[in-house]
């Protein structure tokens, strides 16, 4: 049984996981869907009520029935590097590849449907509330009056995009910024605006969830930092990430979140306040983890390799660390 990794060619984070998969003796096929029709080929046959499918990449042929798991890491758009690329060819190739893969019993990290749903920030906030995670008071609105009333109740606010990255090519991260209390909210009518109570944080928390395994890292906030620098992605570093204990209530809530979201992997961002409360900011279902592993030494890539290697329900388990097996 093979692990399929869909990602771009230059992905050192995927390389880290492949090293562990190799050590476990698990066969791996890795390719970028962008290479479909130029290096990567697929075929699926529906005859007499049965389906038989194959993928070929770099001269290796793998049966879709033989897939144990699919890791959707950072795949390119299907057939984007074809000899004559087009929106039509990408759509056809995307449908052919993912349409076939959706029909096989492999386990997904993460399933495309769960991944897509998980990107909705308003849905994330609601699920976090329901899962029992503390969520800073938040408003998403196109009503200027609603924004004004919210700012009166919560004078210390930040504004951030509803959807994440700006869709230019390459996508541009829009920083979270503080909102001046005297802001004129009239322009809110022209586009949905996300306002959130600013958490006066003493640390940033990154919690990486891989199946049931939760690994948290913490980075203290710089006490001398300009309070206008609220976005950790754009703030000067205050030192490396350090491993952190996950409070049991947070662990329970995160597991509820992942189960409801049907996610096998999630990178949670929290802001830790002066009382030690972890405030949920977001969960990125494809968040990077390499920088945390490098700083903390936490075995995230190994946890991912182990999750991807797990046998399917009903599959006869074979010793995973034996590469010299003569069994078929």
């Amino acid at each position: 049984m093979t692990v399929l990794i869909l990602t771009s060619e230059e992905d050192v984070t995927a390389d880290m996981v492949v090293v562990h998969l190799n050590a476990l003796g698990v066969p791996v096929v890795r390719f970028d869907p962008a290479d479909l029709t130029s290096g990567v080929a697929l075929s699926g046959e529906y005859v007499h009520g049965a389906f038989r499918g194959h993928l070929s990449s770099a001269g290796r042929l793998v049966s879709l029935d033989g897939l144990r798991s699919v890791w959707v890491r950072r795949p390119g758009a299907a057939a984007a590097r074809a000899v004559v690329p087009s929106a039509w060819l990408t759509e056809e190739s995307q449908q052919a590849l993912y349409g076939m893969l959706r029909g096989v019993p492999a386990r997904w990290m993460n399933h495309p449907d769960a991944a897509r749903r998980a990107r909705h920030k308003p849905w994330q906030l609601r699920l976090a509330q329901r899962s029992g995670l503390p969520v800073p008071a938040t408003l998403i609105t196109t009503f200027p009056q609603a924004a004004r009333e919210f700012a009166a109740r919560y004078p210390d606010l930040v504004v951030k995009p509803v959807s994440g990255a700006h869709p230019q090519d390459p996508p541009r991260a829009v920083p979270t910024s503080r909102v001046d209390p005297d802001t004129d909210f009239t322009a809110v009518a022209y586009g949905p605006t996300l306002l959130q109570r600013r958490v006066a944080k003493r640390a940033d928390i990154r919690l990486t969830a891989v199946g049931e395994s939760l690994l948290a890292a913490r980075k203290p906030a710089d006490p001398d930092a300009d309070p206008d620098h609220v976005d950790v992605r754009f703030a000067p570093s205050t030192g490396p990430w350090q491993p952190a204990e996950v409070p049991p209530r947070i662990a329970d809530a995160v597991r509820v979140y992942l189960r409801e979201a049907e996610l096998a992997y999630g990178a949670f961002d929290f802001a830790e306040d002066a009382d030690g409360t972890w405030w949920f900011l977001e969960c990125n279902q494809s968040g990077q983890f390499g920088f945390v592993e490098v700083d903390t030494g936490q075995p995230i890539s190994r946890a991912i390799a182990e999750w991807l290697s797990r046998p399917l329900p009903g599959e006869r388990q074979q010793p995973l660390n034996r590469t010299d097996s003569v069994l078929p």
Copy 2:
């Protein structure tokens, strides 16, 4: 409890359903997400573990908690008709609207995740097989040799797109066409190709499923028709659609399909062969039904209105056909 309909302004099929909803005395809010920020407004507040959301359209304000169901008919891209439209504004508005709606307990026809998945033709074919529907032998491939071998086994073939409509603006339907037995399949390597055994059909079948209700219509094939005209959408009409009985085994299989696909609505296309077998061609989760209702008199729009009107689980049922009720 209100029914929310997301569709374009000029949608006479939606009008048919609204007439029935009005007759049932069910409150309806209908708008096009394209009008977000210019006529349609939204707001959602996440405070103290709870969510309160509102939509406003044409001066009417509706609470998201008060939504009974959401009918995703033919909505435009969010904020497409804003004063200054942009890809960024559409993405922000799409996320805000659907992200909030995904968090409320309303019933969906169809849920965006189920709708998206259901568009994958390769997945449809596999699910149809598993559900027990007869599926014509089909190959989807980028291997010329696989195409040649398939054509040798099934010399009477059609070719059709994997993904449906060509993504131009407006989208263009690509007709299903016969494949000459002497075809050179070399070009298959340049894009996934769907080849299917041609069903020598004596009739086209359109089965419209609304919840548990299945309504089938049949149109006999023209016996004098050119056998190269395989696509009913482009063939000259042979007369109106007629109501047809659904064979019990097909009904069972279609219900399995809908349950597995998590679809509340589906328009199934079958080809009926000389033995009376219904061969599954596709299920369009947003297929039109107005033309069938007009030809056959089948109460499809009423079935949709009734499905949308059903109370949520746990909701206190109120008499639906009373508009003079003094209850709140």
